[in-house]
């Protein structure tokens, strides 16, 4: 299979303009004849639904939650990047493009990233017009801050709730289109299957989570905006319902899954504390702007942090990376924390935590300034940990936060299934092997507001087939298959809950396919996952009924997909015999312990093709060609 990325020719600065001109337009009067399905209402899905409806298409939008406003984009704290260069500190579209390619460790598609940087400025304009209350300077103009690994201030923010405010902006736009009758909203629905007719996306089958009913929805094209798969680790900063199911159903129907091993571990989360724990909480990495990360120099030093004198502390990020210090990118900061903890210098009851210390910032700026910047985060920390970060340093440890891998898409954001588009975190995206802070919101909104609405028109005018009705046999087949799956879960006469399996899966993945990976560990993980999946088939217990709200049943369905996906992710990690970004293979590192890429052999996207339940998937490659950025060893020293 040849993976045609359909990147337009010409200089990188002109590609998107040229492509927009070359895409055929849908006659305005004809737009209302098309029905488009959007699954998911986060930044990507919400913005895409609203924008497609504004253009005149009929949109059917689905979400798993009780309201589209609750999608997990809402939890993003830090901010959104744009190349406005308001602070006059040397930023430009080119620099944002360059930083993103470099930050992604040269594993993203250049042309996509350049387009993202170009569009970034329009996003800010649009969000401000929607009434998003971004932070402002005294003069009333927009404020910027520097964020996670950037040496310019290009991050726009709304306190520590930027994701919430941007999502509410997209949700507002969506509400307007619902009221206008252009979007039909289906909350509390879970996509069960993707329906293909003649190899093209023709609709989906959903399950109503309140009644258990299966529903058939036909469309001219289907858009998946279903987020990432971080919950394969069970414990992550993702929401409870975040899952891989919709993407995996598309994969089973023939959409290639790209770079599944690229997952991001965020360096500043509240450490793990008990077996009953249901999630990990992120502390915005904006904290690293003022907090200093350290551990005791001596292993096993059990003195309280304030009792450890300055010269017995190791500010290891400042020591190892003098020019970026505490602001090194996420993958670098996370691995450095793991390294000091593995060496026995970690703190806290489990030994898997490091200090994030504000004493110097408080002394320099005063408590009030620090409270103004981070008050809500400090309160949140105190509430969860029961400790006062104004007095004692915070304890933090890395946790799974975001996934760069996802369904493979071309420049038009279309998957290998014609008519199936994938946007936001759900696609393999523009972030390569590592995403920079404040870039997820940018990409989700770029895809939804400004890219997909153009490119989907190209498909509708050139590639689409006449819409088939939901009475087509393919829909009934999908319903039967989905129903069979649900019944199997209900009937399994086992003794373990879905959560208990999921917790075990999470431990396998964290131990062997987490921050550091090696051949032996990954091979062990494959065996453990297969054994767990086998047990899951016979030893699951779900109580209650399939015809009413049943969260145990929902969890079982999502877990079944995570079990399949975990194996794919592990295989991808095994086959990528290099280290890059968030994918760190212990066998491939520099003498100083940094990630060592192999550009000769692995400067490509790995995209996996499903070959059936009992046949291993096939690995395809999309070569990555860098014409504008020179490949280099990332250095933050």
């Amino acid at each position: 299979m040849e993976l045609a990325a359909h990147v337009p020719d010409g200089p990188i600065q002109k590609k998107w303009d040229r492509h927009r001109f070359e895409l055929k337009l849908v006659n305005p009067a004809n737009k209302r004849k098309y029905t488009l399905i959007v699954v998911g209402t986060g930044l990507a899905g919400g913005s895409a639904s609203a924008t497609l409806a504004e253009l005149g298409y009929n949109v059917k939008t689905f979400c798993i939650q009780d309201s589209p406003r609750r999608a997990h984009s809402i939890a993003a704290q830090g901010g959104i990047n744009a190349a406005k260069n308001y602070p006059n500190d040397g930023d430009s579209i080119w620099r944002l493009f360059y930083d993103t390619v470099k930050g992604g460790d040269y594993r993203s598609r250049e042309a996509n990233v350049y387009r993202l940087a170009q569009i970034s400025n329009h996003i800010i304009d649009h969000c401000v017009a929607q009434g998003v209350p971004f932070a402002r300077e005294y003069g009333g103009l927009l404020a910027n801050r520097s964020f996670g690994g950037a040496q310019v201030s290009r991050t726009f923010y709304a306190r520590g709730q930027t994701g919430q405010q941007l999502l509410l902006g997209a949700y507002s736009a969506l509400c307007r289109q619902i009221a206008a009758g252009k979007v039909r909203m289906f909350p509390r629905r879970e996509m069960q299957d993707l329906v293909l007719v003649d190899g093209k996306a023709a609709g989906i089958v959903t399950r109503n989570l309140l009644t258990g009913e299966f529903e058939k929805h036909e469309a001219d094209a289907v858009v998946l905006a279903t987020g990432g798969y971080g919950n394969v680790f069970f414990l992550s900063t993702n929401a409870m319902s975040s899952n891989v199911s919709a993407a995996l159903q598309a994969y089973r129907k023939g959409a290639l899954f790209a770079n599944p091993c690229f997952s991001q571990i965020h360096p500043t989360c509240i450490p793990h504390h008990g077996d009953y724990q249901s999630k990990l909480t992120l502390m915005s990495e904006s904290l690293r702007n003022d907090g200093r990360v350290w551990v005791p120099k001596k292993a096993g030093d059990s003195r309280p942090p304030n009792g450890i004198p300055e010269d017995e502390r190791d500010y290891y990020l400042e020591r190892r990376y003098p020019s970026f210090g505490n602001l090194v990118p996420r993958d670098v900061a996370s691995r450095a924390a793991k390294a000091v903890c593995d060496a026995g210098m970690g703190v806290g009851p489990t030994g898997y935590a490091v200090y994030l210390d504000f004493a110097e910032a408080i002394q320099r700026d005063g408590k009030d300034v620090i409270r103004k910047k981070y008050g809500n985060l400090f309160d949140m920390y105190q509430n969860i940990v029961d400790d006062d970060p104004y007095e004692t340093p915070m304890m933090i440890y890395p946790a799974t936060h975001y996934t760069m891998g996802g369904l493979w898409v071309d420049y038009n954001l279309m998957s290998t299934i014609p008519g199936l588009f994938v946007i936001g975190e759900a696609n393999f995206s523009d972030h390569g092997a590592n995403r920079l802070g404040a870039s997820a919101l940018m990409q989700g909104l770029a895809d939804g507001y400004f890219v997909l609405p153009y490119t989907i028109g190209g498909y509708l005018t050139e590639g689409a087939m006449p819409r088939v009705g939901a009475d087509h046999a393919a829909f009934e087949d999908a319903v039967q298959a989905s129903q069979g799956r649900i019944r199997r879960f209900m009937k399994t006469p086992g003794a373990r809950t879905a959560d208990s399996f999921h917790r075990e899966l999470g431990r396998i993945m964290w131990d062997h396919c987490g921050m550091a990976r090696n051949e032996a560990g990954l091979q062990k993980a494959v065996g453990q996952i297969q054994a767990l999946r086998e047990e899951f088939q016979t030893n699951l217990r779900v109580t209650g009924s399939e015809h009413e709200v049943n969260q145990g049943l929902q969890k079982a369905g999502r877990l079944a997909d995570f079990l399949d996906f975990a194996e794919l992710m592990t295989m991808d990690a095994l086959d990528r015999r290099e280290s890059c970004g968030g994918h760190f293979r212990e066998e491939f590192q520099t003498e100083e312990g940094e990630a060592k890429r192999d550009d000769e052999a692995f400067c490509h996207v790995a995209a996996w093709e499903y070959k059936g339940e009992s046949t291993p998937p096939r690995r395809h490659q999309e070569p990555l060609v860098f014409e504008n950025v020179k490949l280099a060893q990332r250095s933050y020293k």
């Binding site: 609203a50 924008t51 009780d66 309201s67 406003r69 609750r70 997990h72 809402i74 939890a75 308001y86 304009d125 649009h126 401000v128 017009a129 929607q130 009434g131 209350p133 402002r136 009333g140 103009l141 927009l142 709304a158 306190r159 709730q161 919430q164 949700y171 507002s172 509400c175 307007r176 009221a179 909203m185 909350p187 309140l210 929401a239 409870m240 008990g274 009953y276 249901s278 999630k279 909480t281 992120l282 806290g348 009851p349 949140m380 969860i384 029961d386 400790d387 507001y449 400004f450 003794a495 809950t497 959560d499 208990s500 779900v542 109580t543 009413e548 709200v549 049943n550 969260q551 145990g552």
Partner: protein, 257 residues
């Protein structure tokens, strides 16, 4: 962690209701070993794991982000929406706030406009109807002017942000003796009324949203201030005052009748 992990025994009196038409009842569940570092919802997770293994139906409750921002979770704990702690959603409430031997009553949001779906899960979709009636600024993607062409004073922007922080959880409705969502509505009206971008549609918006609220069967505000006390995001009732002011302005100035 500085605080020692402690184990307490509690008695849950939790609302069980099969569906909207079932009358519902309290069920008493003994939970002998609650670790105080657990969050309230993690405690319910542990209870549900046990109920499932005993072949019983788990307690259905909604939750998603579990970091206090998505607005999905919520239950009335000992008579107070989201429980006894100030400025906190239920998912952020921790068991260390309870004592050994406590009996804890857990009920769903109760309001005529919110039907109980099952156990603690309620239907909050009437809040969607209010939003759809006018909770937006009509601007299409692609048409916006450069972001800095319209300065907004930091003070006004901060006030708009205070109002925009509402998470739409519905605790204000559950706390109000009239089951009024006017704190929710006031927050959205204030967010847009404060900003220059919100002005062109201000009159139309407040009338339409207020009408939608009435049509959903919600009550009105009678200044009990229970909503403000229960709000996990500390939205102030000044937003209701602003809503009323905007409404009066609109009643005179709007062509919408």
């Amino acid at each position: 962690m500085t605080a020692e992990t402690d184990t307490i025994r509690i008695t849950l009196k939790v609302w069980r209701q099969k569906g909207p038409k079932d009358r519902g009842r309290f069920e008493t569940i003994d939970v002998p070993d609650v670790e105080t570092h657990m969050s309230f919802l993690e405690m319910l997770d542990v209870v549900n794991e046990r109920l499932t293994l005993e072949g019983k139906e788990p307690i259905e409750f909604d939750s998603d982000c579990r970091e206090g921002i998505c607005g999905t979770c919520g239950a009335v704990v000992n008579g107070i929406p989201h429980g006894p702690e100030k400025a906190m959603t239920l998912c952020q409430l921790h068991m260390r706030k309870f004592r050994d031997g406590d009996t804890i009553a857990v009920e769903p949001w109760r309001a005529r406009a919110f039907k109980v779906i099952k156990d603690l899960v309620v239907d909050r979709s009437p809040l969607e109807r209010i939003m759809e009636a006018g909770g937006y600024i009509s601007v299409n993607a692609g048409s916006a002017p450069e972001a800095n062409t319209l300065p907004v004073s930091q003070e006004i922007s901060d006030q708009a942000m205070d109002a925009a922080a509402c998470i739409g959880c519905g605790a204000c409705v559950a706390a109000c003796p009239n089951a009024s969502p006017m704190l929710f509505l006031g927050a959205k009206i204030s967010h847009f009324a404060l900003l220059p971008q919100g002005q062109p549609e201000a009159l139309k918006r407040v009338i339409a949203m207020q009408r939608a609220m009435d049509a959903c069967g919600f009550g009105n505000c009678s200044n009990e201030r229970e909503c403000e006390a229960a709000c996990p995001k500390e939205i102030k009732i000044i937003n209701i005052a602003r809503l009323n002011r905007e409404y009066i302005k609109a009643s005179f100035g709007s062509k919408e009748k």
